[in-house]
C-alpha cells in the first residue's frame, strides 16, 4: 500500500509540471479572423503544415492541415512559396500569441478548405 502511494506520487510529479507548460491545442472558435499577407516561412511537414505570414508588420503563424490532406485538396507545396500572398480564415490560439488554426486558405485566386 505504501509502495502504491509512492508510485502515485511519482506519477503525479511527472505529469503535473507538464500541465503548466502546455496547452497549444485550444483555439477560440467563437471569434474567427481573416489574415492576408506574404509568406515569410514555409514548413510543409507532418504532423501539420506551418506558414509564417506578415500582416501589417506583424508575424502570424498559420497552422494548416497535414501534408497528406494538403496534397489531397490541391494545396500542394509548390503553391506556397515564400513571398506569395495568402489569405487565411481561422481561429486564434488561446495558448500562443499570433498563431491561428486555419479553416481555409486562399492562394492565387483559389480557396482550399482544410477542415
Amino acid at each position: 500500500m505504501r509502495r502504491l502511494a509512492i508510485a502515485l506520487a511519482a506519477a503525479t510529479a511527472l505529469v503535473v509540471p507538464a500541465l503548466a507548460h502546455h496547452g497549444w491545442g485550444s483555439y477560440d472558435a467563437a471569434n474567427p479572423i481573416t489574415l492576408k499577407g506574404p509568406i515569410r516561412k514555409m514548413e510543409f511537414q507532418n504532423p501539420h503544415v506551418h506558414l509564417d505570414v506578415e500582416v501589417e508588420g506583424r508575424k502570424w503563424e498559420l497552422t494548416l492541415a497535414p501534408p497528406f490532406r494538403m496534397n489531397n485538396r490541391g494545396a500542394i507545396e509548390a503553391l506556397l512559396p515564400v513571398g506569395r500572398v495568402v489569405t487565411a480564415y481561422g481561429y486564434k490560439s488561446k495558448a500562443r500569441e499570433n498563431e491561428i488554426r486555419a479553416e481555409w486558405i486562399e492562394v492565387e485566386g483559389k480557396r482550399y478548405e482544410l477542415r
Binding site: 505529469v15 507538464a18 500541465l19 510543409f44 507532418n46 501534408p67 497528406f68
Partner: protein, 161 residues
C-alpha cells in the same frame, strides 16, 4: 536529467529520420493508422485473456487461452511500439512535455508491471491448468483492462493538450 533527455530527443527530432517522417506525405498517416489498428488487435487479445481470468468466459483453462493469445498480443505490441516511434520522432521534444503523453507512459508502465506481478505471483498456478482463478489474479485482470483503456484515452488526448 531533463536536460540530457531534451538533448537526446532534440537530436532525434533533428535527425535525418525526423526529417524523413516530417517530409513524407505517406509515412506519418500510415503509421498513425497502423498504430490505431494495432492497438485494437492488442486490446482484443488482452481483453480476451483478462475476461478469462475474470471468469467472464468459460470452457477453457486460463492457461490455454493465454498460451493461444499472448503471442498475438506481443506481436501487436511490437507494431504499436514501432509505429509509435514514427509518430514520436518528428516532434519528440514537444510530445515528451505533453501531460497526456506523460500519463500515457505512466499507465503503460503500470500495465506492464501488472503483467510482471501477475506472472510472478500466479503464473505457476495458472499454468497448472486450473479452471478457477484466484482473487488476486482477477484483480490484476481488472487492473489490466482499466490501465490499457486509460492508455488509449491518453493517446487520443495528446492532440488536445
Amino acid at each position: 536529467m531533463e536536460h540530457a533527455a531534451a538533448g537526446i530527443l532534440g537530436a532525434l527530432e533533428r535527425s535525418a529520420w525526423g526529417d524523413l517522417v516530417r517530409g513524407s506525405a505517406l509515412l506519418y498517416p500510415v503509421a498513425n493508422t497502423l498504430h490505431v489498428v494495432a492497438v485494437l488487435a492488442f486490446f482484443a487479445c488482452v481483453a480476451a485473456m483478462d475476461f478469462r481470468l475474470l471468469g467472464w468466459l468459460r470452457g477453457e483453462s486460463a492457461a490455454s487461452v493465454i498460451a493461444r493469445l499472448r503471442p498475438f498480443a506481443v506481436a501487436a505490441f511490437a507494431v504499436i511500439l514501432a509505429t509509435g516511434f514514427v509518430l514520436f520522432s518528428p516532434e519528440a521534444t514537444a510530445i515528451i512535455g505533453n501531460p497526456a503523453f506523460r500519463l500515457k507512459l505512466v499507465a503503460i508502465a503500470a500495465a506492464l508491471l501488472n503483467i510482471v506481478w501477475l506472472e510472478r505471483r500466479y503464473g505457476a498456478l495458472i499454468r497448472g491448468d486450473a479452471m478457477a482463478v484466484p482473487a488476486g489474479a482477477r484483480a490484476a485482470a481488472l487492473a489490466s483492462l482499466a490501465l490499457w483503456l486509460l492508455t488509449a484515452a491518453c493517446g487520443r488526448f495528446i492532440a488536445y493538450l
